[in-house]
Amino acid sequence: MARTAPVPAATDPALIRNFCIIAHIDHGKSTLADRMLQLTGVVQSRDMKAQYLDRMDIERERGITIKSQAVRMPWELDGTSYALNMIDTPGHVDFTYEVSRSLAACEGAVLLVDAAQGIEAQTLANLYLAMENDLTIIPVLNKIDLPAAQPEKYAAELAGLIGGDPEDVLLVSGKTGVGVEGLLDKIVRELPAPVGDPDAPARAMIFDSVYDTYRGVVTYVRVVDGKLSPRERIQMMSTKASHELLEIGVSSPEPEPTRGLGVGEVGYLITGVKDVRQSKVGDTVTNLAKPATEALGGYADPKPMVFSGLYPLDGTDYPVLREALDKLKLNDAALVYEPETSAALGFGFRVGFLGLLHLEIVRERLEREFNLDLISTAPNVVYEVTLEDKSTAIVTNPSEFPTGKIHEVREPMVAATILAPNEFVGAIMELCQSRRGQMRGMDYLSEDRVELRYWVPMAEIVFDFFDTLKSKTRGYASLDWKPDGDQVADLVKVDILLQGETVDAFSAITHRDKAYAYGVMMTSKLRELIPRQQFEVPIQAAIGARIIARENIRAIRKDVLAKCYGGDISRKRKLLEKQKEGKKRMKMVGRVEVPQEAFIAALSNDENTGKDKAKK
């Protein structure tokens, strides 16, 4: 612990170290961060709760970090007090952009790998991202207290990946605290100090912004040049919007206002804005009176990749859902939505997400924090459809797929990286091929671990790919992907018809080769889920006017209680009232009564969980 910590706003950049921790989801990043908070004395042991920095309940429950944080910690080495800024990064592929901005705020990264498991695909992807950003990497093996730990093996693997000597890989245990002091020392010794021009116009990069009910938007920044001070007016360089700096400070880890932030420092800003969209991750903050001419690079607008319709189970909850989305949006710059009407599901919203985990988190927050019961339609990616007349349409909802003569359909592609023991290479190649993937390359990371690179349609990978991959590799494979262009593909819309009426909620866009399988799967699923009606109900799957699959729900023939005597009448009346209640929960598709449970069950893809959820 440092005796005299450097004072914010007056700290020599030479005494600052900015770093992040790159780790796979359960390789122990949060536990290591907890130990650092304790060792540096910013959190007293008695205040310690596990995963101190993860604010949202969902984060703590799932053990993942969605929003990043920055904590300033003092650390003393050889009689000099330093200020360490630890910038936490999201651990999920849905949030790659946020990761890249967090990395851009650092000079170095701790590469944290489970000593019993070795490096995983996402960690590798983030490592490459860090290396592209010229970060100094400190390789660390965690969980060396585990009996299954193989530090020698994985140290060699890490050394092979980043260059260097296996001896240089630090061995720590976040759980017991072994090696953590040495790691802090090494951070001071090996990471470069930030460099910037203190006299230039202020430039600070936003790497996170969070909505707080009481304080409005809290924006986390890394100052590159110049200085930011309280009460001055600042400007967002992408939008030119200006705000008064009501408060500026550092987190350690509770917010502490300061007299400003200087070159190389990391801290937070409060301007009183209410919407995180006014404080976009990647944007550059400057001084309105003395603005910088050039923004820091790397800014990009968040782009939703996956769309799904969200509908309240109870139609009267629609205004509640709208309000809830409006509130979530304040804290989630990537969330986009617009009202949508489904003949089958009523009023709802088409919502765009960064990925499936993002979808799940939003859905879970809507259900948990706003007490909503929701139906979500099968998620789909964004297609670009060009018609014969050369007009194009962007399709985010299968029911909007054009019906006219189609010239071509383009689908988004991803570059996927899979790491696995080499015994699974065959199974992985088979899976990728069945998902229309094209191999881009393959490398051996070590004697028995392989990196495979594929170009795969996003639609094939975002839903159940990861779970299938896991089951085919007994859990050993890891996956990372990033959007990578698009391709023309033979895609068709499959409609599902109940008694001749299209049920918009069940329409899907698939590759022509898979249309039949989807049609058969949906029609047989629905046949099980929809109760028999007073008339026969054909369930059909169709591409345009062509029927590709058909099932029948036979008409119900008996719906009468045989016996009705004096002692039965009350019971019968109550049964009838119950049946009437049940009918109110039915959705009508034409004349067909479809229970909501059938919609939920038909739309729930048991495997479409997020990439990493299965591990928890």
Binding site: I556, K558, G566, G567, I569, S570, R571
Partner: protein, 409 residues
């Protein structure tokens, strides 16, 4: 009666009825139901309130039961009088169970005699007892007729031994024609009860049962689809996979066969599960239930209904006997039906009758549903134009759906 009692309001200890019970009572017939809660064997499908032990003690033993039930008859007469109900003769009496014929004919006759003393029996009153074929003799049937019984309903259930076995019925099929003959010799009208859709019963089995029943030339026949009630032995056997579950399509097939055979055999349906040779031979006691008349149910677990006030007795014979012994009403709970509930019951009961439900009694949404019901072939178009909702054959099998469409959401 189902073994689970409804949830209702507390019933008063003195048994006094709410004021609405007396409104218009003079216009309504009055019936008695007398429950006899004993059987020698509990059938696998049965969830009725019945006991196979003869020694329940405390006035609840089989030997003491007639005396206890006499007590409730006296109690009933007092309550009706004190509640301001007009004196009415009893138009129908029905002894059900359990197995009423486990009581001696003299005991049954004694109960009937007490009702006659208390209220008088109407001219041509219908007096029925249920009977298991094994529990009657020519003599006992003759004594019942002598005591004033007019009708006996035999629990035939099936003519096929393996079906009877699944049902746990102990009688031999060939016993049925014999007891029918004895009953007829005693001057009693005869009804037979059949059950269809028993696990393992083939369509041919069912036809055999129908033919055997028709060969007895009954005046009346009830055919009930087997309902698997929770808590019965049969429900457990199905849950464990020992016998196959019942199937609605099988029930529908068998119902259609029953209608064809029975009508060809000279029986006319007058309620979803009931057929009679002539209108006179329809069971007037059951019609009283379906038309919402007044009845008092004697015995443990028995339900009563007077002018929209319904109550039900405590279930166990011992508790029942103790209540009566201390002069406390045996009612366990009651409900007072409001207009809405009475309308619902009226529709759901009367739609099941061949005489139909007068469209004039329907409320707006019910009248609006009539055209759709005709279009779907669920009710008879001609009857509808003549002013009543009368189920078609298909409608009889879907009667509950028809009721839901007639009633408000």
């Amino acid at each position: 009666m189902p073994s689970v009692l409804p949830l209702g309001d507390p019933a008063p200890a003195d048994g006094l009825l709410d004021a609405q019970a007396a409104v218009g009572a003079a216009e309504r017939p009055f019936s008695l139901y007398i429950h006899v809660p004993y059987c020698t064997v509990r059938c696998g499908y049965c969830d009725f309130n019945t006991y196979t032990a003869t020694e329940l003690g405390g006035g609840a033993s089989q030997a003491e039961y007639a005396g206890t039930a006499l007590g409730e008859l006296d109690f009933a007469a007092g309550v009706l009088e004190r509640s301001g109900l007009p004196a009415r003769e009893v138009s129908t009496v029905f002894f059900g169970g359990g197995t009423p014929t486990l009581l001696d004919a003299a005991e049954l006759g004694g109960l009937l005699g007490r009702a006659r003393e208390l209220w008088g029996l109407a001219e041509g009153a219908e007096v029925t007892t249920e009977a298991n074929p094994e529990t009657v003799s020519p003599e006992s049937l003759a004594r019942l007729a002598e005591a004033g019984f007019t009708r006996v309903s035999f629990g035939m259930q099936s003519a096929v031994p393996h079906v009877l076995k699944v049902l746990d019925r102990v009688h031999r099929p060939e016993r049925v024609p014999q007891v029918v003959e004895w009953a007829r010799a005693a001057g009693l009208n005869v009804s037979l009860d059949l059950i269809y859709g028993t696990p393992g019963e083939s369509l041919a089995d069912w036809e055999r049962s129908l033919d055997a029943a028709l060969a007895c030339e009954p005046d009346h026949l009830s055919a009930y689809a087997l309902i698997i009630e929770d808590g019965t032995k049969l429900a457990a056997q199905i849950r464990r996979g020992e016998v196959p579950d019942v199937d609605d399509d099988d029930h529908a097939d068998k119902y259609e066969h029953a209608e064809a055979r029975l009508s060809a055999g000279g029986l006319q349906w007058y309620e979803v599960s009931n057929w009679a040779r002539t209108a006179d031979q329809e069971c007037r006691h059951n019609l009283a239930y379906w038309r919402g008349s007044d009845w008092w149910g004697i015995g443990p677990g028995a339900h009563s209904h007077v002018g929209g006030v319904r109550w039900w007795n405590v279930k166990h014979p011992r508790a029942y006997a103790q209540r009566l012994a201390t002069g406390v009403s045996p009612a366990a709970g009651k409900e007072v039906l409001d207009d809405g509930a009475r309308y619902v019951e009226d529709v759901l009961l009367r739609v099941r009758l061949a005489e139909g439900l007068p469209t004039a009694t329907l409320r707006a949404e019910g009248r609006a549903a009539v055209a759709g019901l005709i279009a779907d072939g669920l009710i008879d178009a001609k009857a509808a134009f003549a002013g009543s909702v009368r189920l078609s054959l298909r409608g009889r099998l879907l009667a509950d759906a028809v009721v839901r469409r007639l009633l408000p959401d």
